[in-house]
Amino acid sequence: MFNSRLFTGTGKFSSTELMEKALLASGSELVTVALKRVDLNDHKDDILTHLNHPHLNLLPNTSGVRTAKEAVFAAQLAREALETNWIKLEIHPDPKYLMPDPIETLLATEQLAKLGFVVLPYIHADPVLCKRLENAGTAAVMPLGSPIGSNMGLKTIDFLEIIISQSNVPVIIDAGIGSPSDAAKAMEIGADAVLVNTAIAVSRDPVLMAEAFKIAVAAGRMAFEAKLGQINSYAVASSPLTSFLDD
């Protein structure tokens, strides 16, 4: 469906021109944009104008909403204005750490899936919630690696591995990826894609960093497909301890 497994965001860039250059350098084909930042009634909106490339698919997000009800309404607005039925569901009633609300997210996913949306919910790295979302008709799950914008990397890796091993829908690691090595690691453990924003936007050279992420994501995926060698934490004895049983 996409050639690139690197999804990107549009926040925190020092200018929309720089954002556009970085997104082009990233090779990303899916870019999320906050509904609250764009003027849906203005076809010359500055952000949207700079995202106007045939290969860049828009993924509107509901950042700012606090309940399922608000999210469903926002998604419908986005569908109408941006002509896409894809929606990145972000319900974080906590504006300090922007932690996703699992209960409201599940409710909204059920409703939006019934309304024909392709729902990509931002969630905590909670394996049971992922299964519940699958049942609710989600198109993918987007568990966090660490708090959004934190650049702390894959703090939830043990839970991400469980999610990946159990999932029947694509797993996209969403938040906290701080460096290309974090992104490569996420891909190596089998994530289907990663979403990166802050680490690119806030770096000294966003265009160069975007390219670094592009390469890291591709490398991580190749390593996953090639199957990494087993890491052994103990030596394999040259004379097996149990060889006497064969005698």
Binding site: S15, R37, R66
Partner: protein
């Protein structure tokens, strides 16, 4: 669990807090700089005189934290003064009841004339400001104004008299997103001296306003003190204490801090305490080091040079092209201001300055449709 902030506030003594700030040592400051999460005691060290030699280090850390959370963007907003009618006597304010100025509350037609000018400036975030005149400027008036202007702004904030919980809750469906209520000073006795008459003289009612906003479910609230009335360090500690309390209790609300320094106005009060530019930078950085997520806002009270330079140090929102008199944009540009503006540049000039510093001016960061 405490019922309101007053219960917590009453366990503190101004003198003890003040002394403990001034007793902080260089070692306390170094420890505060090194801590990953910073406590209220760390905040005291960072605003203390002992931190002055560490200002550059504080600025570097403050910039890093701000960039990580907010990116290279600056939120822009503009005040719209609706009324200068006021029943309060405040020793420092141009709209004080005992100040001989012509009183005016904008009519619907006048409000729309003002709005038309703000829209040509590019604004999508407006801050409505009034005095306290409950006979004419009350919740029903605010509903009328919100109805009128909601179609024209993505984000509406208010800085008006403190209201009851029910009033706040009733204004949210009309499009109200943010309320700013500054305590002015947390020094109970001095507060009385500066507010001798009117509803505002009730210190406790004002102190509990943020609790009422939290109970009402307001999306964002702004805190602050008027710097110049009392020792700014002690007042800022109580602001941080207030913020800390509110964040834990009303975790669904967002918070912003302001640090207005007393400005001259016709017939006004001389500041009791002068705060230097260096000290204000220290305070801005200390707030950021204490709280990585709180929004920090700076108004046109501050000078051009100062504003240009604090952009990259921790501030996340600023006003531009402001008028502080009702009708100041279109209806009666010559009427008396609440206080004198220092930075008189237009919003477009501010936007150009921001871009030249590598910052994206953000006019819209909310949508009425999300409520």
């Amino acid at each position: 669990m405490t019922k309101t902030f007053k219960d917590l506030f009453d366990t503190y003594s101004w003198e003890e807090v003040s002394n403990s700030i001034y007793e902080k040592t260089a070692a306390d400051v170094v420890q505060a700089l090194e801590n990953h999460k910073r406590s209220l005691e760390d905040f005291k060290a960072l605003i203390s005189p002992a931190a002055v030699p560490y200002l550059e280090q504080m600025a570097v850390l403050s910039r890093q934290l701000t960039l990580k959370r907010f990116g290279k963007v600056m939120q822009l907003y503009v005040p719209l003064y609706l009324s200068n009618e006021c029943n309060n006597i405040c020793t420092y304010c141009g709209f004080s009841y005992d100040n001989k100025v012509r009183r005016k509350t904008l009519s619907s037609i006048e409000i729309m004339q003002e709005v038309a000018v703000l829209k040509t400036m590019g604004y999508d975030h407006v801050l409505l400001v009034t005095g306290e005149a409950n006979q004419s400027v009350h919740t029903e008036y605010f509903k009328k104004v919100l109805d009128l202007i909601k179609p024209h702004f993505a984000h509406i904030s208010m800085e008006v008299q403190p209201l009851d919980t029910n009033d706040y809750a009733s204004l949210i469906p009309y499009g109200l997103h943010t309320v700013l209520v500054y305590q002015e000073t947390y020094h109970r006795e001095d507060y009385k001296k500066h507010h001798p008459k009117g509803k505002k003289s009730n210190f406790d009612y004002r102190l509990e306003t943020a609790d009422r906003l939290g109970e009402a479910g307001m999306y964002k609230m702004g805190l602050g003190v008027l710097i110049g009335l009392e020792d700014w360090r002690t007042d800022s500690f109580f602001t941080a204490l207030h913020l800390n309390y509110l964040e834990k209790k009303y975790w669904k609300s967002k918070y912003s801090l302001s640090f207005p320094r007393l400005r001259p106005f016709s017939g006004g009060l001389e500041p009791k305490v002068e705060m230097t530019d260096r000290e204000l930078v220290q305070l801005i950085c200390a707030y950021r080091l204490f709280n990585g997520e709180v929004e920090l806002s700076i108004s046109t009270r501050e000078s051009t040079v100062f504003r240009d330079n604090v952009i990259s140090l921790g501030v996340t929102a600023m006003s531009a092209g402001s008028k502080t008199n009702p009708g100041g944009y279109a209806v009666e540009p010559q009427s008396l201001e609440q206080f004198e503006i220092s930075d008189e540049r237009s919003p477009e000039e501010i936007a150009t300055m921001l871009r030249s510093k590598g910052y994206e001016p953000v006019w819209k960061d909310w949508d009425q449709a999300l409520i």
